[in-house]
């Protein structure tokens, strides 16, 4: 116990004096939060829209206004020929075009479903899909309004009334912040733990400690507890910052959140320890951490790319990515207020991950000390 405490105190003192580690731990999370929070935004606004209104009636103008007033579209040009439209789309002056045919208002007022043409530049498939969704919704609701303002009631027998739960404004930031937390914890926990041990190998202090009668358990505990609390503080910092800056809600139980965070961090620390038993230089440790932790967390956890739209083989692989379970739990607790008892599969998965990593790394570390 005294030995673990000695390692713990030493580690804290080192971290305090080590500018580089401190910067990594404190500023990288803040930087990432701002970067991803503001720049990585899947909400699409201000799409340059070209309009060809061949109907020229109050009704057709009302439809164009509905598009512009939605806030998603900026009307950049009015065109009068298909050739001109092609040119604008080719030049990328317009990303989308709305073509209202002659007879639009006549059809609408006669209770016939009028057709409008909507052209989208599909070079960015994600954006195109989203824009198409927006356009469809605007056209439907505007069409209904315009029609009901006129004579006949709308003829739609079934209408969909969408209600979006948990994130009614569909702000992608809310969806991204939990992933960001996982990502940042991977950086602070995996990188800083593995580097702290590998640095000791490089400087020779590891050998000196190995010559001392200190057991692996005390060493691992003393070494990882500071990083555990730092990672936890780092997570708290991101969560509170996201609440302040992006209006992240906290609908669930704080204790459940703490549990999820702790399990995930424990696993990440174990991964860092494991890497440090393999790597002899900081560079190798860093690369190993990148490959084993960052990339899977970024690509295969559902942080940015939905797992359900991945190829089947990749979907299978995501089952061994701990961030996948962590994200489900975190989004559940923070955004939906899901009670802990519904998240037990995720908690079990995270526990297994933590247990596996800590056991495996301790065994390797003990063997290395022989």
């Amino acid at each position: 116990m005294r030995k673990a405490l000695a390692v713990y105190r030493k580690e804290l003192r080192q971290i305090r004096r080590d500018r580089r580690t401190l910067t990594t731990i404190v500023f990288v999370p803040a930087f990432f939060l701002l970067l991803y929070g503001y720049a990585l935004n899947f909400d699409i606004r201000h799409i340059a829209l070209a309009v060809q209104d061949r109907d020229g009636t109050p009704q057709s103008r009302a439809l164009v206004s509905a598009f512009v007033n939605s806030g998603y579209f900026d009307r950049v040009a009015d065109v009068y020929s298909p050739a001109e439209l092609d040119r604008l789309l080719d030049l990328n002056t317009a990303r989308a075009a709305l073509v209202i045919p002659e007879g639009f208002s006549r059809d609408l007022l006669n209770g016939r479903m009028p057709q409008v043409q909507f052209l989208i530049n599909g070079d960015n498939a994600n954006t195109a899909t989203t824009v198409m969704g927006y356009a469809g919704n605007i056209a439907r609701s505007a069409g209904a309004t315009i029609a009901s303002d006129s004579v006949e009631p709308p003829a739609a027998p079934v209408s969909v009334e969408p209600r979006i739960w948990y994130n009614p404004e569909l702000r992608s930031t809310l969806f991204l912040v939990p992933g960001l937390i996982a990502y940042i914890l991977m950086i602070t926990a995996v990188i800083s733990t593995s580097l702290s041990i590998v640095r000791e190998k490089e400087s020779g202090t590891m050998e000196q400690v190995r010559m001392a009668p200190i057991d692996t358990f005390s060493f691992v505990v003393g070494k990882s507890i500071p990083y555990f609390f730092i990672s936890l503080a780092s997570a708290a910092l991101i969560i509170f910052a996201a609440m302040l800056l992006f209006g992240l809600p906290m609908r669930g139980n704080w204790l459940a959140l703490l549990l999820a965070l702790s399990l995930f961090i424990a696993g990440a620390l174990g991964t860092g320890l494991l890497i440090s038993t393999v790597a002899e230089t900081q560079q190798v440790a860093f690369q190993a951490a990148m490959l084993s932790s960052f990339l899977p967390t970024l690509m295969l956890s559902g942080f940015i790319f939905p797992i359900s739209s991945m190829p089947y083989a990749l979907q299978l692989i995501t089952h061994i990515v701990p961030a996948r379970y962590f994200l489900i739990a975190l989004r559940g607790i923070v955004l939906k207020g899901t009670p802990l008892r519904l998240l037990w599969p995720q908690m079990v998965a995270l526990s297994i991950y933590a247990l596996l990593m800590l056991t495996f790394s301790s065994v390797r570390l003990a063997r290395e000390r022989r």
Partner: protein
């Protein structure tokens, strides 16, 4: 040199019998046998990769021997490596301190991992600060200490727990001569207080300060004894130091002389080992002059440990299958 305590009847502090370590096919340490008595300063000499560090790592309980036995302070290194660790101090050439901790914090940390209680730590801290001459620098970062102080602090951290046996792995690398002398004075004092010291070194002048030395080459013990004994390898084989303005050419010519066994370059001079017999310096000098070499001086010299070292390596490479028990240097002439 202090009194040689090897004559005492006490059990050996370090007792090594047929110690062997293989890494795959490579035999790093090959059936090494020696013992070190309590309070003795025992020098371990050899070039890089000769097997010195591997031997030390086995003796410290860090590496399992492939075969053979070793006891350190009466404890078997294979059976109870943790027991060994409690009894020994270890300091490496890197003076492994925590750069970002102060002098005091380094002492506190190493005291902690050795399990010292608070009262003991206070006492030992005072001792180490005094010994290393670090009074007034307690709050200096280890990073900011000059070489000699770092070295003495590292030594202090290695003996915080008052080990009976101290392993020093090239402890004076990169330290100025004055600090080296100071360091060796500390080692002498420790030895006098009964601490057994096993030290590896490249510096042959340091070897002269050891009570006994062992030469290790290619994993095998090549010679063991006091420095005087070890130099007996050259009994009956005079060494001539030849100074000329063209050492390399002189060396080539000397190699062709029948009475010259071998030559080596020593700074700007050439050392020529003569075969047993009555070869005389004058004869060699005149023949060299006859061949057009301007000889400045040619004098018989007392063999240094370096001569011994080179000779041992040389004879080993000529007889690779030599038996590996440490040959007593004096026994070689018999």
């Amino acid at each position: 040199m202090a009194d040689n305590p090897r004559a005492s009847a006490e059990p050996a502090a370090i007792d090594v019998r047929g110690l062997t370590r293989r890494f795959g096919q490579f035999v790093a340490v090959d059936k090494v046998t020696f013992d070190v008595r309590r309070g003795e300063i025992f020098g371990f000499l050899g070039s890089n990769g000769a097997g010195k560090s591997t031997t030390i790592r086995m003796l410290c309980g860090l590496l399992k021997p492939t075969s053979g036995t070793a006891t350190v302070g009466g404890v078997d290194v294979t059976r109870d490596p943790e027991g060994v660790k409690r009894r020994i101090g270890y300091m490496s050439q890197r003076f492994s301190l925590y750069e970002l901790l102060t002098v005091d914090q380094n002492i506190e940390f190493f005291g902690g991992v050795y399990g010292l209680d608070a009262a003991k730590l206070v006492e030992r801290r005072r001792f180490v600060i005094d010994m290393a001459g670090l009074a007034g620098r307690e709050t200096t970062l280890a990073r900011d200490l000059a070489g000699g102080w770092r070295q003495r602090l590292a030594l202090g951290c290695a003996i915080l727990h008052e080990p009976a046996i101290l392993f020093l792995d090239e402890p004076t690398g990169g330290v100025d001569p004055l600090s080296r002398r100071q360091f060796w004075r500390l080692i002498d004092a420790l030895s006098q207080s009964g601490v057994t010291v096993l030290v590896t070194t490249h510096y042959l002048d340091e070897a002269e300060r050891c009570h006994r030395v062992a030469l290790i080459h290619a994993g095998r013990l090549a010679a063991i004894g006091t420095t005087t004994e070890v130099k007996q390898i050259f009994a009956g084989r005079p060494i001539l130091e030849v100074r000329t303005d063209r050492s390399v050419e002189a060396m080539r010519l000397l190699d062709g002389f029948p009475e010259v066994e071998k030559t080596s370059l020593f700074g700007t001079a050439v050392h020529a080992v003569l075969r047993r017999g009555d070869a005389r310096a004058e004869a060699i000098e005149s023949r060299l002059r006859g061949l057009g070499v301007a000889v400045e001086s040619i004098t018989p010299v007392v063999p240094s440990l370096e001569d011994v070292f080179l000779d041992v390596i040389d004879s080993f490479s000529r007889e690779p299958a030599a038996e590996s028990e440490g040959r007593s240097a004096s026994g070689r002439d018999a």
